[in-house]
C-alpha cells in the first residue's frame, strides 16, 4: 500500500538537541499525502518537538539545535521562507487558544497578515468556507461577531482549526488536539480529522490510542527521541516489535 501513496514530507536523520539533552535523535520518517499520519509515543518522547521542527517553529527557540534534513515536496525546508512554510504546514495546538477578538477576526487573522488586500466578499467567502470545513458554521448560527474566547472548549478548538484551514495549507498538523476536550467535543474532532484528509494531509500527534485506532492511516512510534516502528492502521496494533507492544500495553 505504502509504495502507491505519494510522500509529501520526508524526514531524514532529524536531530534536535539542547545544551544538555537530546530530544530527537536521528529520526527518519515519511509523511504520506492525503492520509492521517499519526505519531504516537509516551510523554516526553519528542513528538511535539518533531511537529515544531516541521514548520520551523523551533527556529524561534535559540536553545534548540536542529540538524538533519526535512524535505517538503522535495524541497529542503531550510530553503523555504519560514513564513511561507508555516502557511503551507498549519499547526493546531493542544490547548485551544483563540485570539481575544471576534470569531470572524480570528479566522481572518492569517489572511490579513499576508498583506494581500482581499475584497470583503472574497474574504467573507473564505472565512465561511473555513468555518464550514471545521464543522463550526452551523453551531455559530451565522453570528461571527461573537468573541472567540466566549465559545466552548470544543468550539474554540474547531475555531483554531478553521483559522489554520483558511490559509489553504497542504499539511495540517495536530498536537494532541483532543486531550483538553470532553468526550463529545472529542468525537467531533475525530469526525473532522477523518473528513479533512480528503483535502489535506494530516499529521496527528497523540498518546490517545483510541483516537489513533479510529483515524490513523499510518502510525509511527517515537520512543526516547528515536523512531521505532511504523505501520498502517491495523498493522501497527498487531506489531510484534517489543517497544510497540510495551507502549500499547502501557497506553491501554
Amino acid at each position: 500500500m505504502e509504495e502507491k501513496v505519494e510522500k509529501i514530507i520526508e524526514i531524514e536523520r532529524l536531530k534536535v538537541e539542547t545544551k544538555n539533552k537530546v530530544i530527537l535523535d536521528g529520526v527518519d520518517l515519511n509523511i504520506f499525502k492525503n492520509c492521517v499520519n499519526t505519531i504516537v509515543g509516551p510523554s516526553g518522547s519528542g513528538k511535539s518537538t518533531l511537529l515544531r521542527s516541521l514548520n520551523r517553529l523551533l527556529d524561534m527557540d535559540p536553545s534548540m539545535d536542529v540538524s538533519g534534513d526535512v524535505l517538503f515536496e522535495k524541497r529542503n525546508i531550510v530553503d523555504i521562507d519560514p513564513v511561507e512554510l508555516r502557511r503551507e504546514i498549519g499547526l493546531v495546538f493542544q490547548k485551544p487558544n483563540p485570539f481575544p477578538m471576534s470569531v470572524y477576526d480570528n479566522v481572518a487573522f492569517g489572511l490579513r497578515i499576508q498583506g494581500k488586500k482581499l475584497k470583503k466578499d472574497e474574504m467573507d467567502k473564505m472565512i465561511h468556507q473555513a468555518l464550514e470545513d471545521a464543522d463550526l458554521i452551523e453551531e455559530l448560527g451565522g453570528n461571527l461577531k461573537q468573541g472567540g474566547t466566549s465559545l466552548s472548549g470544543g468550539q474554540q478548538q474547531r475555531l483554531c482549526i478553521a483559522r489554520a484551514l483558511v490559509l489553504r495549507p497542504k499539511v495540517l498538523m495536530f498536537d494532541e488536539p483532543t486531550s483538553a476536550l470532553d468526550p463529545i467535543a472529542k468525537g467531533k474532532i475525530v469526525d473532522l480529522i477523518r473528513a479533512l484528509k480528503q483535502k489535506y494531509t494530516v499529521i496527528l500527534v497523540t498518546h490517545d490510542m483510541n483516537l489513533t485506532r479510529k483515524v490513523s492511516d499510518y502510525t509511527n512510534l517515537i520512543y526516547e527521541g528515536k523512531f521505532v516502528a511504523k505501520g498502517t492502521g491495523s498493522e501497527f496494533f498487531e506489531s510484534e516489535i517489543e517497544e510497540v507492544r510495551d507502549f500499547l500495553t502501557e497506553a491501554d
Partner: protein
Amino acid sequence: MTSSYTGNRREIQWKKIGSRKLKDTIAKGLSYVVLGMMVVILVSIFIYILDSGASHITLTMLITPGNTATGGILNAIVGTWELVGMGLLFSLPPSVLGALYVVNGRSNGTLSLVARLFTDVLTSVPSIVIGLFAFIVLVQRLDMGYSLIAGGLALAVMMLPYLMRIIEISFRNIPKEQIENAYALGADDIRVASRIYLPQAKVGMLSGILLAVSIAAGETAQLLYSAGWNNNYATGFTHSGVGYLTYVVWNGINYPTTYSHYLAFVSAMILILSVTGLIAISKYIGRRQ
C-alpha cells in the same frame, strides 16, 4: 486510654491555634500602625499644600507667564507638559522595542540580561547625575543650550526603565501559546508585535505611560541642568530654556517675597493634584484590565 489520648491531642492543637492567632494579631497590628503612619504623613502633606495653595490661587497666576517672583505660572505649566511630552516621545519607542526584545528573547539570553541590568541600574542613578550628564553632553558639547530637547532627553533617561519594565510585564501577561500560534499562522515578528503584543497590552501600556508621566512631571534636578528656565514660553526646540513647575516651587520659596511663596505653593498644589490624578487613572485602568 484511647479517648484520653485524643483529648490530649485536641488540647495541643488548641494551644497551637491560639499562638498562631496571637502572632497573626501582632503582625496585623504592626501593619496597621505602619499604614497609619504613611496615611498621616501623606494626608498632612496634602492638606498643607492644598490649604497653602488653594487659599492664594488667582486666575491671573494661571493665565499669565512669570519669573517665579512676579506674574503667573502659565509658562511653567505649559513647559512641564512640553518637557514630559518630549520625554515620552524619546522614551516610549525604545521602551516598547526593548520590552519586545526582552520578552520575545530570540537572543541566547545574555543580551536580555544586559538590558535588564541596564534598566535596573538606570532606575537608581540619581537624577542630578543624569542632569549633569545632560548638561555636559547635550547643552554644552552638542551645543543645544538649555532647551526642550535637552530637558526631554534628560527626562526620557529617567522614564525609560519604568516604562520598559511595565510594558514588559503587560507583554508577559499575554499567553505564550497565542504568540506561538500567531507565528504558526505565518506572522512575522513585525506582525506579531503589531497585531498581538501591542493591541493586547495597550491597557497595561497606558497605565505605564501615565505612571512614567506622573513621575517625570515631579522631577527637578535633571531639568535644572538641561531645560534651564524661561520667564516666558520656549520659542524653539533648542537654545531656548523652558519653564517648569518644580522650578517655581524651588525658586519661589527661596525668593524673599510673600507673592513668590504663593506662586510656589500654587505650583506645588497643581503638581500634586495632577500627579495624584494620573496615578489614580493608571490604577483604575490597571484594575479594569
